[in-house]
Amino acid sequence: MTETTTGDPLDVERIKKDFPILERLVRGQRLVYLDSANTSQKPRQVLDAVDRYYEQSNANVHRGTYLIAEEATAALEGARAKVARFIGAASEREVVFAKNATEALNLVAKAWGRANLRAGDPVVITELEHHANIVPWHQLVAELGIELRWIPVGPDGHLDLTDLDRLVDGARVVSFAAMSNVLGTLNPVDRLVRAAHDAGAIAVVDASQYVPHMPTDVGAWGADFAAFTGHKMCGPTGIGVLWGTEQILDATPPFLTGGEMILNVTKEGFTPNELPWKFEAGTPPIAEAVGLGAAVDYLSGLGMEVVRTHEVALTGYALRSLAERFGDDLVVHGPSEPAERGGVLSFTYRDLHPHDLTQVFDERGVCVRAGHHCAKPLMRELGVAATARASLYVYNDESDVDALGDAIAAAGDFFAP
C-alpha cells in the first residue's frame, strides 16, 4: 500500500470512490459524512454482493435440495466463516447471527441470564455503556432481583478502576463496552475479563464500536460473549453477531424459538438445533449476512491494522486542528491521547445546543449526530444533556475534519454574530 503525502497509510481518495453515497450532493454541496459510529456507509462491493445474491441465488437456507438453495446456504455459512476468521473465533459454531448488537446483548441477558442468575446476583456494568448494555440488565433487576453495579468513569473519560476488586467481588457477570460510543475511550478489555474470571463471573464485551475499527481477536480477549453489529462496519442493517465460547453457548437455552432452531418437534416438546443455529429462529437475514461477509472482505482488504493507524492519525489531526481553531470554546469529551481512543469526537461548542449546531452543519452537508447517543447515564456523569458527535472512518480524511471546523465556525457566527 502506498503512503499518501500526509502520511496516511490509507488511500482515502481511492476509498471514497468505493462509496457511491459520497458522490451525492446535499444542498448542492458534497456529503461530509461524520456519523459512522451511528452507522457506516456501504461500499459498492457490499451493495453488489447483496444484489448478486438476490439476482442469482435467492432461496431459503438449510432446507432446499435444489441448486440455488444450496448456493444460498453456502452463501450464509460462507459469510459466517468469514466473520469467524475476522474476529479470531475458534470455529463458526461460536458465531451466532442476530438482528444487531442490541438483540445479541438481549440474548445474553434474557437467555443466559434468566437461566443462570438468581435474586441478589451482582451484575457489573460501566457508566459509559450504551443503553443496549443497560436496559436488558435493568429488566433482570425487575424480573429476578439481580443487583446492578456500576464501574464509574473518571473525568478523563477512562474507567475508574480503583474499586474494581470490590465491585466484581461475588459478581456473576461483568459486561462492558470495548470502546465507548460517546467518548471513544478504549477500555482495558484484558484487565476487565481477567477481573471477571478471577471473581467467578462471565465476561461480556460490547464490541460494537471496536470490531469496525480495530484488529479483533476474541480468542485473545478470553471473554465468554462478545456482541457487535454489521451496519457499523460497512455491512447492511439487520444483521449483528453474538460471539460466544461453545461452552457458554451450550449452557445457554434458546432465546427466540420456532423454525430453523430445532432438530425435532413433537406434541410433547422440542429438541434445539446444534450451535450456532440453536439461536437463529426463523429464516435468517441471508442477504444481510452475504453483505456482512463482503464487508469483512472489504475491511480485510484494507487491513485492520492500517485502518486503526489511519484513524489514530486522523483523530490526532482533528483534536489538534479543532483545538487550535476554537480554543476553550470547544470542549471535546473523552481521552486526549489519540492512541487511547477511537475516532469518536463528542463535543460541545460555547453554550450552543448540539441540535442547533448540527442543524447549521446540515445546511453545509455535514452529517453529525446530536443528542444523548443512547447513553443517558454517561451524559449525566459528564454533566451535559447532549453533545454533538463526529465520528471518523476509512472514507474520512483531513478535508472532512476541516469541513467540520468550518461548520462549527458557521454555527458560531449564526447564533452569536
Binding site: R27, H353, P354, H355, D356, Q359, V360, E363, A370, G371, H372, K376, M379, A385, A386, F414, F415
Partner: protein, 166 residues
C-alpha cells in the same frame, strides 16, 4: 428546500437569547411539572400558578435547544393571565399549526387535548390569534424539530390536567 432562516426567525433567536419567565415558583402552592424530549434529552420544568381557572403566573426551568427554549418562552408570554379555556384554545391552534406533520410522524397524535381530532388543520383555528407564536410555523419544514417546539405546550397541558384533577 427550506433554509436556516425558515427555522431560526429573528424573534425565535430573541426569545432564545433573552428567555422570558425563567425561574421557579414555590410548589406547592404552584404546580410543578416536567417534560422530556427523549430524542435529544431536552428537559423542561414548568411552574404554574393557576387560580380560579386563570394562569396567574408561570416560570420555566430546564434546558434545551433554541427551538424548545424559545417555544417555551413564547408560550409562557402567550398564556400568562389567560383563562384555561383561552390557553386550551391557543394550544389547539399552536398544535394545529404543527399537527399535520406530527400526527403523520407518530401514531398517537401526540395531542390528547386536541379535541378537534385528526384533520383539524390550520384553518380550524382561524379565530385564535397566535401572534408571535406564528414565528414557529417554519419548524414544520424540519419534522425532527417539531417535538422541540411542542414540548413546552404538551408539558403545560399535562400540568393543567394535574392541577385540575388535584
Amino acid at each position: 428546500m427550506p433554509g436556516l432562516e425558515d427555522l431560526y426567525r429573528e424573534i425565535i433567536l430573541d426569545h432564545y437569547r433573552n428567555p422570558r419567565n425563567r425561574g421557579e415558583l414555590s410548589a406547592p402552592p404552584a404546580t410543578r411539572v416536567e417534560g422530556f424530549n427523549p430524542l435529544c434529552g431536552d428537559e423542561i420544568v414548568l411552574f404554574l400558578d393557576i387560580e380560579r381557572d386563570v394562569v396567574r403566573d408561570i416560570r420555566i426551568g430546564g434546558q434545551g435547544c433554541s427551538i424548545s427554549q424559545s417555544s417555551a418562552s413564547m408560550m409562557s408570554s402567550a398564556v400568562k393571565g389567560k383563562t384555561l379555556d383561552q390557553v386550551r384554545a391557543l394550544s389547539r391552534a399552536f398544535k394545529g399549526m404543527m399537527s399535520i406533520h406530527e400526527q403523520s410522524l407518530d401514531g398517537d397524535g401526540a395531542g390528547e387535548a386536541d379535541l378537534d381530532g385528526p384533520g383539524a388543520g390550520n384553518g380550524a383555528h382561524a379565530d385564535v390569534k397566535l401572534g408571535d407564536l406564528e414565528a414557529l410555523r417554519g419548524v414544520v419544514k424540519f419534522p425532527v424539530r417539531i417535538k422541540c417546539a411542542t414540548l413546552s405546550w404538551n408539558t403545560l397541558l399535562q400540568g393543567i390536567d394535574e392541577q385540575q384533577s388535584a
